[in-house]
């Protein structure tokens, strides 16, 4: 329902479209609070969905300007023009975001990771331990839900992990 965009003046709709593309590329999407006077929640969601889908489709199919304008035939020409400029300007970004999405096509993907190196100086039994410990936290996206995984490893365990990851990397390199 891109038609809903018509209730916003063209200049504001430009920023909105850019924010929608931001959301598409993994940044913060626009919030309803900023536009609550213009649309209801349902309308907002519809608009957001349709805009996102439109951008995605247009960038993914690499459609020409005429095709895009044809897809926006139900919106006023100035708004359609706005959407087109946004699309033109950020086609590459949307494309890379889509490529990223395609890249992570599997049941679980690594979204983000963080590590901390800790040095255990002593324990309750041993006064001087000096054992390095690595606590690794992985943000894994599994079926759309973010699942944090945290583990702590000593040197041997870390070596095992690294060697297995290297073996996996080798398999990936063979695919190239």
């Amino acid at each position: 329902m891109v038609v809903l965009l018509s209730s916003l003046p063209a200049t504001q709709s430009l920023t909105l479209c850019h924010r929608v593309v931001d959301g598409l590329c993994g940044q913060e999407p626009p919030r309803l609070e900023d536009y609550s006077t213009t649309w209801s929640l349902k309308e907002w969601q519809e608009l957001l969905h349709s805009l996102t889908a439109f951008f995605r489709l247009a960038a993914g199919n690499n459609s020409s300007d005429e095709e895009v304008l044809a897809g926006l035939s139900d919106v006023s020409s100035s708004h359609a023009e706005t959407v087109l400029t946004v699309l033109k300007g950020r086609r590459e970004e949307i494309r890379s975001a889509l490529l990223d999405r395609t890249n992570s096509i599997s049941s679980a993907t690594l979204q983000d990771f963080d590590w901390q190196l800790k040095l255990a100086l002593s324990s309750d039994k041993i006064s001087s331990l000096h054992t390095p410990l690595l606590s690794l936290s992985l943000d894994v996206r599994e079926n759309g839900a973010l699942r944090p995984i945290t583990m702590e490893m000593n040197r041997e365990e870390l070596n095992t992990l690294i060697s297995s990851l290297e073996a996996a990397n080798k398999v990936v390199l063979q695919l190239k």
Partner: protein, 630 residues
């Protein structure tokens, strides 16, 4: 004394006393400095005792006096045997202060010496530093956020607890290729600054770091790949990239095809063939599911959704026609559902059958087409053969003539062939020559380029090796610098030991000299004794001889008298010389004493004492006046 003072000042500085640079001997110590130094030493030696003492002198005279008394008491408690009192601190004299400070410095715990004896590796130093820092942090009590001072911020604020969350950033320089006007407009007018892009402020740094690391690693990977494979392939970077892209595409397609074949058949029961790969990809690309990550079964869910909605549409249409009871409606719905399902199943089976038929038909069709082609080939062959035979039959009637003609023709054609061959040879020779030269040039160029390639490779290797070496050397340099920073203590220590050894050798020399002088004196003593003995004996003999003659002769008696007088006078003389010696020694002693007394700054100290006395009296009178007023 200078060495001792240096050591003392160095140690006092280590204890924490602020000794200014100009002060380089105990002589220059002021009362304040002495008090501070002594208090700091006592605090290190015995924290319980030292904590009660102030490090600076109070302004009031009586209070100063009291501080001096308590300090003296503390020193005696620690075990100082020498003479000590408030005057030691307030009206200092050099030797006393020196001996007191030496005593205190000797009593200082030997921690620093022990630690410097331990091996000072880089890791040991680091671990010790970490342990010390953690100990210090554990000693700091936890405070609620409102009471925190800046010094707690480092360890207790939640700032360190932010986990490393990355969000994608949009940076102008990342977009490659020809920049469009719309893009520039966007970057100029709408794109927020990078610090405003992430949703939470904490992830700004993480995001930027991540972005840069990603770019850097990509560049490095490309660099290494280009150096290892790209250069050898002798293509421009763009060509290499496009070639790799097509190769990867092909590979991915193959992989997908092989992976999609069994899974598709198992998931959809066989009706789907591999031909719909593009359709599958289309589904991946076109579908816009709400969740962010595409799941594997998306196509399946997609089709399911599609059929389901159709059904629903079909079901909902007849409902509003009549207003039956709910049961009826349900019944009807179920019936309909059952029938529809049946239909659906039937359709499915039909489709299956049809596809199987189609496959069969396709196979037979290709077979028939093959057969057709073969037949056509056979036909053309037969036709050719037939034409040849036809011609021979045409030529048969006038056989001889035709034979001659044929022979002539054959000869002519043979000649022509020979001519052509010679011509060909003529053409061929220069062409072959050219080909050879070109080949040679080519191989030369190949050689050259491969040589250059190998040169480039070696250069790259060299660059890498030298950068690594530079890094290593830099690290070593850093390590050495840290070691150097830790060194001065040890250096002074070795200097001190050297100094001590020198002093010891000096002392040995002096001892030798002393023993020499002692033996000299002994010899002298011996000689003196000898001489006195000789003298005594000679005197006794002379005395006797002269005494004997004296009874007879008057002049001899006179000479005897003279002899006695001479002897006595000589004795007196010796006595006087000895007395002068002792007096000289006494004088020297006294001079030394005067010197030491001068060193004690007695006059100045007396003046100060008088001043202080006046000050105390003033204070006392002021206090008395206050009391009277009160």
């Amino acid at each position: 004394m200078e060495e001792v003072d240096k050591i003392l000042i160095h140690t006092l500085k280590q204890v924490g006393t602020e000794v200014s640079e100009e002060v380089n001997s105990v002589k220059q110590f002021t009362s304040e400095l002495i008090v501070e130094a002594v208090v700091r030493c006592i605090r290190v030696i015995d924290p319980g005792l030292g904590s009660a003492l102030p490090t600076s002198l109070p302004p009031g005279m009586s209070a100063r006096f009291r501080v001096g008394m308590s300090l003296a008491q503390a020193c005696q408690d620690i075990g100082y045997k020498g003479e000590i009192g408030y005057q030691t601190f307030l009206y200092s004299n050099e030797p006393e202060i020196r001996s007191l400070l030496m005593f205190l410095v000797e009593r200082l715990p030997r921690e620093s010496a022990e630690t410097s004896d331990q091996p000072t590796g880089k890791s040991v130093v680091l671990q010790r530093a970490i342990a010390a820092a953690i100990k210090a942090q554990l000693a700091v009590p936890w405070l609620p956020p409102n009471c925190r001072l800046p010094l707690h911020g480092e360890t207790q604020s939640p700032g360190g607890l932010h986990s490393f969350h990355v969000q994608p950033l949009s940076l102008p320089h990342c977009t490659k290729g020809p920049t469009k006007k719309e893009l520039i407009d966007y970057q100029r007018d709408i794109l927020p600054p990078v610090t405003a892009q992430p949703s939470s402020h904490a992830s700004v740094v993480a995001s930027i770091l991540e972005q840069h690391t990603a770019e850097l690693s990509a560049a490095q990977e490309w660099d290494s790949e280009w150096n290892s494979q790209g250069l050898v392939s002798r293509l421009t970077p763009q060509e290499y990239r496009s070639r790799k892209l097509t190769r990867l595409r092909k590979r991915a397609e193959e992989q997908l095809r092989s992976a999609a074949l069994p899974s598709a058949e198992s998931a959809f029961g066989g009706p789907r063939s591999t031909s719909d790969l593009s359709e599958l990809l289309q589904a991946f690309r076109g579908s816009a599911p709400a969740d962010q990550v595409l799941t594997k079964g998306s196509h399946f869910t997609h089709t399911q959704k599609f059929t389901f909605t159709q059904e629903a549409a079909a079901v909902t249409s007849p409902i509003p026609t009549g207003r039956q009871s709910e049961g009826d409606v349900q019944l009807r719905q179920e019936e309909e559902l059952a029938s529809l399902q049946q239909q659906f199943q039937q359709l499915c089976t039909d489709v299956d059958q049809l596809t199987a038929d189609m496959k069969h038909m396709g196979v037979t069709n290709t077979q028939v087409l093959d057969e057709l082609k073969q037949r056509e080939l056979g036909n053309t062959e037969e036709e050719e053969r037939m034409q040849v035979k036809k011609k021979t039959i045409d030529l048969l009637p006038d056989a001889d003539n035709n034979l001659v003609k044929f022979q002539a023709q054959v000869e002519a054609s043979a000649k022509r062939v020979l001519h052509l061959a010679s011509q060909w040879e003529k053409h061929r020779a220069p062409l072959i020559e050219e080909h050879r030269t070109l080949k040679e040039i080519c191989s030369n160029q190949d050689l050259e380029s491969s040589r250059k390639l190998s040169e480039i490779k070696t250069l790259h290797d060299k660059i890498r090796v030298s950068t690594e070496e530079a890094k290593k050397k830099e690290e070593i340099y850093k390590q050495l610098v840290t070691e150097l920073e830790n060194l001065p203590q040890d250096a002074s220590r070795s200097a001190y030991t050297q100094r001590i050894l020198e002093i010891v050798s000096n002392i040995k020399k002096q001892k030798e000299e002393i023993t020499k002088i002692l033996s000299d004196t002994k010899e002298l003593q011996k000689e003196i004794n000898n001489l006195t003995g000789k003298l005594d004996r000679t005197f006794a003999v002379t005395d006797e001889l002269v005494f004997k003659d004296a009874k007879k002769d008057e002049s001899v008696r006179k000479s005897y008298k003279y002899l006695a007088a001479l002897h006595e006078n000589c004795n007196h003389l010796i006595q006087t010389i000895e007395d002068t010696g002792t007096i000289l020694r006494e004088i020297r002693d006294l001079e030394e004493q005067i010197e030491t007394e001068h060193g004690n700054k007695t006059v100045a100290n007396l003046e100060r004492i008088l001043d202080d006395y006046k000050a105390i009296r003033q204070e006392n009178s002021a206090l008395a006046a206050k009391v009277r007023e009160g």
